[in-house]
Symmetry: C2
Subunit: 406 residues, 2 copies
């Protein structure tokens, strides 16, 4: 890949090999959302740049990413090649440079309009830990867990962009020792550090998308925090699954990293101990494990480093499963990996696992300790992945601060 | 209510007291969806009628119901009053009549763009029956059932309009006696006869909608068939709930009956044996039980008459519960009652209950019998409710025919 003429800070995660997409506004024009591409410490106003080089593009000159996402993989590749040229060819610099805006001067918006949101449960370590905590005395993994990627639909309408304040939700809570439930603010507000996959190209009702259709349908990847109220969830989730314990807010990072930027991050998934059915069998396919290094910070202190490469089920398997019954896809469909937890305590992606449902409080360097989140706490999840030639692909961050219950 | 000048067939469910909204196209203009209102055997082209009487209305002159739905209750009332005047005042007849199209000449489309879809589980009879079938030897109702309206998110992208063919889904099925799951077309394809509630006016993230906000947010009511693959569902649903067993298709009726048309149908809900928490306590509120008489037909034969008035939880309680954690509403949010089953066998809204998971096959008058649905079977759900002065409010029908697995 040629070098960009844009000055890059050392170790920028937004080099020329990344070029993630987002939607931004400026203080001058707060009501004019536009498509942006991150490069170094700048945001490229992509539609304006296309016009400036004499190649206007409808999919970039738009208030959202929907048109680009829906256009499909050939367009994604073509647009990415164009943006790369604009940012590397010195002869384009004079035209393009006026459309670079310092990132500190833009407001990053929700990068896409979520259509359906599905949350999976693909970390064997996380699912085993939750099984032990929620269903003590039984097998931690349900019998189906290694036969299919367990998932459920979440609330698309409460997907919010990073830095949206998270209001502590209220609901019904009932400890096993309580005779009846009580109503009030959750006492067990938690995070789930996840990776989100954003569908671009839709599919027809009745037609499954196989393992080999993954890159044709998935536009890109973001970070996701599936905020969870554990006491509400524990009381409500039998028999139809999580509902209000999750539906109050799900935060996503503002930059969507194109799948093409993750070629160097692809790794083989872990060995599976159960033979997958043919539609999930990826042993002969190109691997879709992804070697993302994630970091979870609570009030600035690193509390976990979840290893995404340890996930039992890949996103390609999840997409194949989600559509094998003929369910159609729409541009903006979002599906998330499930909490990313590695085998070590320092690799767990949720407080319920880190503190073992509050039994082992987490000590922070400032002298305080936590079982679950307190009002005012801020949680930030970041990640990077290997890029070409020793570079790193940055995912930026998804961050949120807890606000007291209303 | 004055009489309409439109000729009405005897016992029309689409009298002047109903005026349900839909979206239609004509053979002449298949690419121009428009807002329609049903009256007798006609569809009123509502936008054209508004223009013809010299009162053009943006919310009616639109390709979808979204603008009208989002506009809120005062607009809903105003528009309904206007349409009533157009169809009753003889002096408007000359202007309005040219915009009545025989219903057989229009194609009815999906009446709204579903935002989030939530499916509840509010019939005590249905939940008890399913508990006995899916979890024999345990209490049929989970301990939370009478404390909160159990619900979960379904797939909004596969909500389809009545008469859309239903492709038999494939997936993983595992009988308790099988060692491992197998893959193939569902052998236990079922229906769920339900009532759907369509949200018009949205709400702010972080702000619950209480019981008394129901009529301010809910635009209208439709019929819904939550097609279910029971073998896929039984294997997948522990611990995170139904997913592929439901997500392949959900059919809705094309006419949305305005909430205002159901004043005469409101009845007190059944007595509850558990005292509800204050946010669900409707004992001092106006009742939102609804006396809908439903009918389920299989290949033309009536197989069940579910009584909607028997539902334990009302739609107003469901809305209050769904938002009590601060989850926001969007125009087009759809929430369904859950399968409507009364106490009698002839009142059950799903084949799994009618045939007791296939143990007692259903004999049809044509000499055939059914445990679950066969390819080519057609299921139609209809309903009416009491209107003013002894009239009936018709909901039309939601119908679907099973197509062989691909």
């Amino acid at each position: 890949m040629p070098n960009t003429w844009v000055p890059l800070p050392t170790d920028s995660g937004y080099g020329i090999d990344n070029l993630p997409y987002g939607v931004f506004t400026t203080d001058h024009e707060p009501d004019r959302p536009r498509v942006g591409v991150a490069i170094g410490d700048f945001v490229l106003d992509a539609g304006a740049a296309a016009r400036a080089v004499g190649a206007p593009l409808d999919v970039l000159d738009a208030p959202s990413l929907t048109a680009l996402m829906a256009a499909g993989r050939a367009t994604w590749r073509g647009v990415r090649a164009s943006v790369t040229t604009w940012l590397t060819d010195p002869s384009r610099r004079a035209s393009v440079e006026p459309h670079l805006i310092p990132r500190r001067d833009v407001v990053l918006r929700l990068p896409f309009e979520p259509a359906d949101y599905v949350d999976f449960y693909a970390s064997e370590h996380h699912a085993s830990n939750l099984g032990r905590i929620f269903r003590p005395g039984t097998e931690p993994l349900s019998p189906n867990w290694k036969h299919l990627p367990i998932g459920y639909h979440g609330r698309a309408g409460t997907v919010v962009v990073s830095h949206t304040p998270i209001v502590r939700p209220s609901g019904q809570r009932k400890a096993p020792t309580d005779a009846v439930p009580s109503f009030g603010p959750t006492r067990r507000l938690d995070i789930e550090a996840e990776v989100g996959f954003v569908v671009g190209a839709g599919s027809e009702l009745g037609t499954p998308v196989g393992l080999d259709g993954f890159a044709d349908h998935v536009f890109g990847v973001c970070l996701l925090n599936d905020w969870s109220a554990r006491d509400i969830q524990a009381w409500e989730y039998v028999p139809l699954g999580p509902f209000l314990g999750k539906s109050f807010a799900t935060s996503v990072s503002p930059w969507i990293v194109p799948l093409e930027a993750l070629d160097a991050a692809r790794v083989a998934p872990p060995a599976r101990d159960v033979e997958p059915l043919p539609y999930l069998d990826d042993r002969a396919a190109e691997p879709w494990g992804l070697d993302l290094s994630m970091e979870v910070r609570l009030n600035g202190h690193v509390i976990s480093r979840p290893p995404f490469a340890s996930m039992y089920w890949t996103a390609a398997q999840q997409l194949a499963h989600m559509t094998v019954n003929g369910a159609s896809l729409r541009p903006g469909d979002l599906f998330a990996s499930g909490t990313v937890s590695g085998p070590e305590v320092g690799e767990r992606g949720a407080l319920i696992e880190i503190t073992w449902n509050g039994e082992n409080p987490l000590k922070l360097p400032d002298g305080s300790s936590r079982t679950y989140l307190e009002d005012g706490d801020e949680v930030t999840i970041t990640a990077t992945a290997p890029g070409p030639n020793g570079t790193r692909i940055g995912f930026g961050e998804v961050s949120g601060r807890i606000v007291a219950a209303r």
